[in-house]
């Protein structure tokens, strides 16, 4: 009558119920089981990563991990000083510019590719020229060469770039210079991923010597690097998907560096032994964009964004319901800075923030009054409307970003107080919604380079898509002719303080328009094993981050622990009596460990009080 297997299923269900929490813990434990294959003398620095490789070709790579790999394995013309943030020589030893700012001449350093071939100006010329002529090669860094008239190499040490108009970013050309002799035979750059032949010939401090898809990327030092060879013998980027698993691997010593910690993890690791937590001022801003009416360059509107958001009063009222301070206090655990400026405060020269009356601050009562005055009356459901336009907005949040979701939940409650409904809808990616213009509010976040040109450039009218579904760099459909004028002015302004002044005016415009609404800058939370890494250079130094720098400073400068007292360690300990003593040592260590654990538990509890 009754199937026995369905009784079995009942039992299974019950067990599965118990397992669902354990599942969460289990992934963490299993991740850290890989062996630490390392001989005593070889110093390896292992970094946990979760991002997948898009391409190892610098022409195509746009992800954080792969652009960082480009930094490590290919030298750029210039670099940024970690202390001052100013441009310093790299592959270009020195440079001059013509009085009209249209011709730039770089003197190329006399050094070698990792296969022994000398580096010449021809390599640099070929790299830029290919990016100008081949659309595929311009995928990642095309914005740098848009304004190039021509590039030439009159002799092996001289590179000459002629511009169509003056360009302020000529000392911030973040483009990996590639070895022409290896690359000119590569074929179709849209398909060439540079991952067939190892070690990859480059010119940076590290050489990519092995790559196992979704397992690891191994780099070895470039012993002849002109700035000095890296101190570690090996640099490994190891894949660990899960953030908890990364932290467990760090605690177990399986990896030596972890980035992207949650606030809770950073607090917990603070009290862990042999682990240093680094709280760097963020180089990213977190923001929302309000759909002002998606449109093409020719003005054709598309999408179904709520038209109420085209009313500046509604946008300002909505922004007034956002308590930036509370978002950073709660969702980011206090690790961050609430700030409405577009360029993060770590870039002191360019950062701007509203002051005095210009601040569009948190005030739900005022938001309500503004909407009342503008004729948006509350309906029976408590949501305001005017002429059939209901202030009810879809709020699409990146589902994979817990902080965004938490902030969105908070914003939903604040907006409700002012009679605005936010329907929080997590999405796995916003690209499709953005391209179709079928959104009202989106979360976003951008990394900002030391030079602000790129991040300012994305919001130009000319950045709008040219055709429906066409490529769109930004995510705000912002278009303000005054802003565009200022953009052109800053690009042509070669005097840094004057340029900074224009950049600040641009940020003021963005802020006033309430389309690109910045919340602030979350700290970059990282942790490393202090018993493996003795020291390394942050950027900016001090107070900056180690991971995804605008340079190779951290991994190039990292010093292994024990380099100083290697001799002392080698001479210690003989084998006689070791076996007998072993048991006692283990017992003593266990006892010590137990006491230590208890004490740590105690101190942690004290911290929380």
């Amino acid at each position: 009558m009754f199937h026995t297997n369905h009784r079995g299923r009942g039992l299974r269900t019950m067990l599965a119920g118990l397992l669902i929490t354990l599942l969460a813990c289990a992934t963490t434990l299993f991740a850290g089981t890989g062996a630490h294959a390392e001989t005593k003398d070889e110093k390896t620095l292992t970094i946990a990563v979760s991002q997948e490789v898009d391409s190892l070709s610098p022409f195509l790579a746009v992800r954080r991990l792969t652009t960082a790999l480009g930094r490590l394995s290919y030298d750029f013309l210039t670099n940024y000083d970690p202390k001052t943030g100013k441009t310093i020589p790299a592959l270009a030893e020195s440079w001059t510019t013509s009085p009209d700012g249209l011709t730039w001449t770089y003197k190329i350093r006399d050094t070698k590719w990792t296969d022994g071939t000398p580096i010449t100006a021809e390599d640099a010329r070929w790299t830029f020229d290919t990016m100008m002529k081949d659309e595929a090669a311009a995928t990642a860094n095309g914005n740098f060469v848009e304004n190039f008239e021509s590039v030439s190499a009159p002799d092996p040490r001289t590179l000459e770039v002629k511009l169509k108009a003056p360009q302020a970013t000529m000392l911030a050309l973040d483009v990996p210079i590639l070895p022409k002799h290896k690359w000119e035979k590569a074929g179709d750059f849209a398909k060439f991923n540079n991952d067939k032949e190892f070690p990859i010939v480059g010119s940076g401090p590290w050489v990519i010597s092995a790559y196992e898809v979704n397992q690891s990327i191994t780099l070895t030092p470039n012993k002849d690097f002109w700035r000095g060879a890296p101190k570690f013998d090996k640099l490994v980027f190891r894949y660990i998907d899960d953030s908890d698993a990364q932290v467990e691997a760090l605690k177990a010593g399986e990896v030596d560096f972890v980035s992207g910690l949650t606030p809770a993890q950073a607090k917990a690791l603070d009290s862990a032994k042999d682990i240093t937590v680094n709280k760097a001022k963020g180089k990213r801003f977190q923001a929302i964009t309000l759909n002002p009416g998606a449109r093409l360059q020719d003005g054709t509107t598309f999408g179904d964004g709520n038209k109420a958001l085209q009313d500046p009063v509604v946008r300002e009222a909505l922004v007034r319901t956002i308590d930036r301070e509370a978002i950073y206090k709660t969702a980011y655990g206090g690790f961050g800075e609430a700030n409405g400026g577009y360029i993060p405060s770590r870039y002191k020269d360019y950062h701007w923030q509203p002051e005095g009356d210009a601040v569009i601050g948190f005030d739900t009562a005022k938001a309500g009054q503004m909407l009342d005055a503008a004729g948006y009356a509350k309906g029976s459901d408590g949501i305001r409307a005017k002429g059939g336009l209901k202030l009810s907005f879809r709020f699409n949040v990146h589902a994979d970003n817990p902080q965004y979701i938490q902030a969105a939940e908070m914003m939903r409650e604040w907006a409700k107080e002012a009679g605005i409904e936010l329907k929080v809808e997590p999405v796995s990616e916003v690209g499709a919604l953005l391209d179709a213009g079928t959104y009202d509010i989106l979360t976003t976040g951008w990394s900002v380079n030391p030079d602000p040109d790129y991040i300012l450039g994305i919001n130009r009218c000319s950045g709008l898509p040219a055709k429906a579904g066409g490529p769109y760099l930004s995510d705000a459909y912002y278009c303000n002719p005054e802003y565009d004028k200022l953009y052109a002015a800053q690009l042509a302004e070669l005097d840094p303080p004057k340029r900074a002044e224009i950049v600040k005016q641009m940020q003021e415009k963005l802020y006033e328009d309430n389309i690109f609404v910045v919340w602030g800058y979350a700290d970059q939370l990282e942790a490393f094993r202090s018993d493996v890494i003795a020291s390394m250079t942050p950027q900016p130094d001090p107070g900056g981050n180690y991971d995804s720098q605008d340079g190779y400073w951290s991994w190039w400068s990292a010093k292994p622990v024990g380099d100083e007292d290697k001799a002392a360690a080698d001479s210690g300990g003989t084998s006689s009596g070791l076996v007998l003593g072993g048991g006692a040592v283990v017992l003593a260590a266990l006892a010590a460990g137990f006491v230590l654990l208890r004490r740590r538990g105690g101190s942690a509890a004290d911290d929380r009080e």
């Binding site: 269900t13 119920g17 917990a268 817990p402 604040w414």
Partner: protein, 300 residues
Amino acid sequence: MKTATATRRQLTWARRRRAVAKFWGDYRQNRAGLFGLAVLAVFVLSALLVPWIVGEDALSVTRPAGEPLQPPSGEFWLGTDRSGRSVLDLILWGSRVSLTVGFAATLISIAVGSLIGILAGHFHGWLSGLLLRVTDWFLVMPTLVLAVALAAVLGRSLSTIVIAIGVTSWPTTARLVRAQTLAVEARPYIERARALGGGHWHVMTRHVLPNVMPIVLAQTTLMVAGAILTESTVAFLGLGDPTVPSWGSTIQAARDTGAVSSGLWWYILPPGIAIALVALAFTLCGRAIEGVLNPRLRNR
């Protein structure tokens, strides 16, 4: 004529009362079943009363009662979550979601399953064959994959999860009910009913349905546990509505916070234990009912 009907109805009801009393008498013998029932009663009661015990203010993320991630204390028995809300309150509110989804999804699945099962068992020929093939097709459809696909199309909400679970879990019921229908229809009294002029409708509703109800009841209690678990899994995978605190979404939020590696056990364990408890309670009840209905199981 009128009195005769009334008397017949009275008789029927008296018979049913006796059956229920006997059923309860048998059920009481099963201690595990009673335990499951008690646990369920506690959860259902708290779910019903939570608006009066705790109040909706407890769910506010902008006016939380405490500081984020406080460990358990006299004020917050199970500590606080990432926003500073009491985890205990979240679990009490979450029980509403979990139980609602559990029952709603089960209701869909039982209704569809019973209907298709009885039809497939009662009619023979091409209709039965067609229904069985459809059942087979749904039987192999994986719930989670369907839930993910549906969430992408319909958006992330509770109704999406209910539909996903309901649509994928009815085939087992249908198979079970069909088997029972075949067994019932083979009995001589059905043949007698047919000979007396009983049509399809009469046979299916008057004779088959009452006889498959016990099996459906047992299947329901077992299925609710599975549905609650699936809801939690789906919410845990981030496909639920994040603004509605269910047990699964609480576990997901805890994991996002890095609770496992940060030692925030009070955030991640209680919702898991709540899921396990409710699933266990339903399973115990289901098995107790099975035991009552199937004498062969009783002496084990």
